[in-house]
């Protein structure tokens, strides 16, 4: 095809389509558009990973901690308030302080959990956060009424405490457990979002590279020129961008899967164990408070205690860190000590020695159920803290791997577009 022919073929886009300048011009246009679009989409894709990692670090991760904290505080508050009815006479100051601390922690953390949500989540009917916010003051009111009656020496106090406990066990704790499940579900979602294979980025990068290669082959066929500096530059920029995104994406995949293995998966098991610990302690206390009418609580204790043993064993096999393993070993031996104390307590109660049973249950001796329970709870708290630190570290690593990737993608996609445009422009000028 010669210049004259091209000229003769004439005017208009339709006529231009089959000509070399037409083809090249079209290519330039498509390349620039695709490079910029792919850059924008890749940037958004990377940005959504950055967002998920940020969420894990600043939002869903801490909120799952908050949800666990709310459950623990509420459950401990109820076990403490109920336990105060086991011993006669003046409520020990330590018991009162513990209850107050639990309620303060629960309501403070609840405020954090509520603030982190959109208003619509809280106003939805049956929302767990609404239930918690509405019922916690009711619960606290009942406990204070119980206390006031108790201080006047009226058995009515125990009835208010039972009503409070019923509210806790039938509404507040199920809502808190629901909240915890939702929040850990969000963590898993964010981990999936941040740690999936960067398939979209790969396909977009390959599409740009494919177009660039096609452009260079067309250019070679039409103009017999092997190398075009602009297109080569564009190809290099696209390649670098793709490699950069892929390396960062795969590094994030590794970090996120480590954040699951070394962090959240273990936290889930340990938190479930801690919840079981608290439930078993409530059952143990309520069995004694019911004084013989508590068979249902004892049956529940047996089930929860077995589940607790299974969870501790599972946590032991999941542990990837020696310090955590040591804490879980300590938890298992404290659990065994507690089980022994519980057996002693039940034996005393069943043989008519109620006072002896109460001493084992709430005494401060080294072999009391209270001591073993507190130690077990402390072991689990430490183990959870350590695995959470591992989780945070891995999420921070993932965040580091994604640092600046969006800027790099943006700059390189502009370079790709500019290179492609400039390269083809040079050839087009030959046709003037």
């Amino acid at each position: 095809m010669t210049l004259v022919e091209a000229d003769r073929r004439g005017r208009g886009l339709a006529g231009l389509a089959g000509t070399t300048p037409g083809v090249l011009g079209g290519f330039a246009l498509v390349l620039i558009l695709v490079a910029l679009l792919a850059g924008a989409l890749t940037g958004l894709g990377v940005q959504s990973r950055v967002q998920a990692v940020d969420d894990l670090a600043a939002r869903t991760g801490p909120l799952s901690v908050a949800a666990e904290q709310i459950y623990r505080s509420l459950s401990d508050a109820d076990a403490t308030a109920t336990g105060a009815f086991l011993s006669g006479g003046l409520e020990p100051t330590a018991t009162r302080r513990r209850y107050e601390a639990d309620i303060a922690q629960a309501s403070g953390t609840l405020a954090v959990a509520v603030a982190a949500r959109d208003p619509g989540d809280v106003t939805a009917s049956g929302s767990t956060l609404a239930t918690l916010s509405e019922q916690l003051p009711v619960y606290a009111g009942l406990v204070e009424t119980a206390r006031a009656d108790n201080q006047q020496g009226l058995p009515l106090g125990a009835a208010y405490q039972r009503e409070a406990s019923t509210l806790m066990r039938t509404r507040l704790l199920p809502a808190a457990q629901d909240l915890y499940r939702t929040e850990t579900g969000q963590v898993t979602d964010d981990q999936d979002g941040a740690g999936s294979f960067p398939i979209l980025e790969l396909l977009l990068g390959l599409a740009v590279l494919g177009l660039l290669v096609a452009a260079q082959i067309t250019l070679y066929r039409r103009t017999n020129r092997v190398f075009n500096v602009g297109l080569l530059g564009a190809t290099a920029a696209a390649l670098v961008a793709l490699l950069w995104v892929m390396v960062a994406g795969i590094a994030v995949m590794g970090d996120i899967s480590a954040s699951q293995r070394d962090g959240s998966a273990q936290v889930d098991t340990l938190a479930a164990a801690r919840i079981a610990t608290l439930a078993a302690r409530s059952d143990e206390t309520l069995t004694l408070v019911a004084r013989g009418a508590g068979q249902a609580y004892q049956t529940d204790y047996t089930q929860v205690d077995k589940h607790l043993g299974d969870l501790l064993a599972k946590a032991g096999t999941q542990a990837t860190d020696d310090k955590v393993r040591a804490k879980i070993d300590a938890a298992r031996s404290d659990h065994a000590a507690w089980t022994a104390a519980h057996a002693k307590l039940r034996k005393a109660d069943d043989s008519g020695d109620y006072g002896g049973a109460v001493t084992v249950a709430i005494g401060t001796g080294t072999d009391s159920a209270a001591t073993a329970f507190d130690k077990l709870d402390g072991d689990l708290r430490d183990a959870i803290d350590q695995t959470r630190a591992a989780f945070n570290q891995k999420v921070a690593d993932a965040g580091g791997a994604l640092n600046g990737v969006v800027v790099v993608v943006a700059v390189l996609s502009v370079l790709t577009a500019a290179g492609a445009g400039a390269g083809i422009w040079r050839r087009l000028r030959d046709y003037r």
Binding site: S125, P155, G157, G292, A293
Partner: protein
């Protein structure tokens, strides 16, 4: 694919396609807390009241009563003596009858005194008792399962119950009445139409409330103090049960009063597993002693004298069928 959608949504958001929505603040209704196991409007199965002649006549005690440590071989008492303690089903919620004193953590009251008198006569030690707390509806199953030797828990002798358990002679005569708030207009059973009236599950009081011609709405709970909680919280309009239990409630809340004529007689007996007739006779002997030697009167004055109006009554006269 999910991530592709997220990216697309992000792109749309950036291009300004997101719609604006407002948050409607809902009106939040208060939800009143309920005692565990409370149920409103659930009337007990209307059992056709069994008829029997003279339910309060019990078995004649042996004369003389065997002394502690000398129970007849093979008797129920001998088995209890072997164990060394009497297992008693009691209440920890009925003020001054059977209640847990918050100051000491001990269960005490008129019923507990009576149970200790049985332990004293059987084992020579009033403290050789193991108290097991039972709710009203757990009393008969606990006796039938052999979980307790005896139930001393404001339990009314009825013909229905006599088919399931044995009863001692009457040790206290109660009357079912009505407890309302100080400012209530309810003045008797006839004024209870459509009102919520509380009683415990498995009690004769609940059956009597459900059977009232004025048709109140029965509300049932586990323990008597749960009724007082619900009355204080305005969830029920009245509590109806035996005068002695109501007096214990009124003593805990000075803004309540007991009203109306008695609805029914409620003779209290100690319940014992049906097959242990020897133990019924023994307990009747103990009651005879307790009533004649002043123990009954002393216990009445200690616990109930301040709650119930009038002079200390004479102990009930025991009746025997043979």
């Amino acid at each position: 694919m999910k991530r592709a959608l997220v990216v697309l949504a992000a792109a749309l958001t950036l291009s300004g396609c997101a719609s604006v929505s407002t948050t409607v603040i809902p009106t939040v209704p208060a939800q009143e807390p309920l005692p565990g196991n409370a149920s409103v409007g659930a009337a007990p199965p209307a059992a056709a009241a069994e008829q029997c002649t003279d339910p309060v006549a019990s078995l004649r005690p042996p004369n003389p009563l065997p002394a502690p440590g000398q129970m007849p071989a093979g008797s129920t008492m001998a088995k209890i003596a072997q164990r060394g303690r009497l297992i008693v089903g009691v209440d920890q919620n009925t003020f001054h009858m059977g209640f847990r004193d918050p100051a000491t953590g001990q269960i005490q009251g008129f019923d507990i005194d009576m149970a200790r008198a049985v332990a004293q006569a059987l084992l020579g030690d009033p403290n050789a008792v193991q108290l097991k707390v039972l709710t009203s509806d757990q009393r008969i199953p606990a006796l039938q399962n052999g979980d307790v030797d005896i139930v001393v828990r404001t339990m009314t002798i009825t013909c229905d119950r006599l088919k399931q358990v044995g009863f001692s002679a009457v040790y206290y005569d109660a009357k079912q009445r009505i407890l309302v708030k100080q400012n209530s207009t309810i003045d008797g059973p006839a004024a209870l139409g459509g009102k919520k009236v509380c009683a415990t599950k498995g009690s004769t009081s609940l059956a009597a409330v459900a059977a009232l011609p004025a048709k109140p709405v029965p509300v049932s709970v586990s323990d008597w103090t749960d009724c007082l909680v619900m009355l204080q919280q305005g969830q029920v309009d009245a509590v109806s049960t035996d005068d002695v239990i109501l007096a214990g409630m009124a003593a805990q809340d000075q803004y309540t009063k007991v009203v109306g004529a008695p609805l029914a007689d409620e003779p209290y007996g100690m319940a014992i597993p049906l097959q242990n007739q020897d133990f019924v006779r023994f307990v009747n002997g103990v009651l005879q002693n307790v009533e004649s030697n002043g123990t009954w009167t002393a216990s009445y004055q200690r616990w109930l004298g301040s709650l119930l109006p009038g002079a200390t009554p004479a102990p009930p006269t025991p009746q025997y069928r043979d």
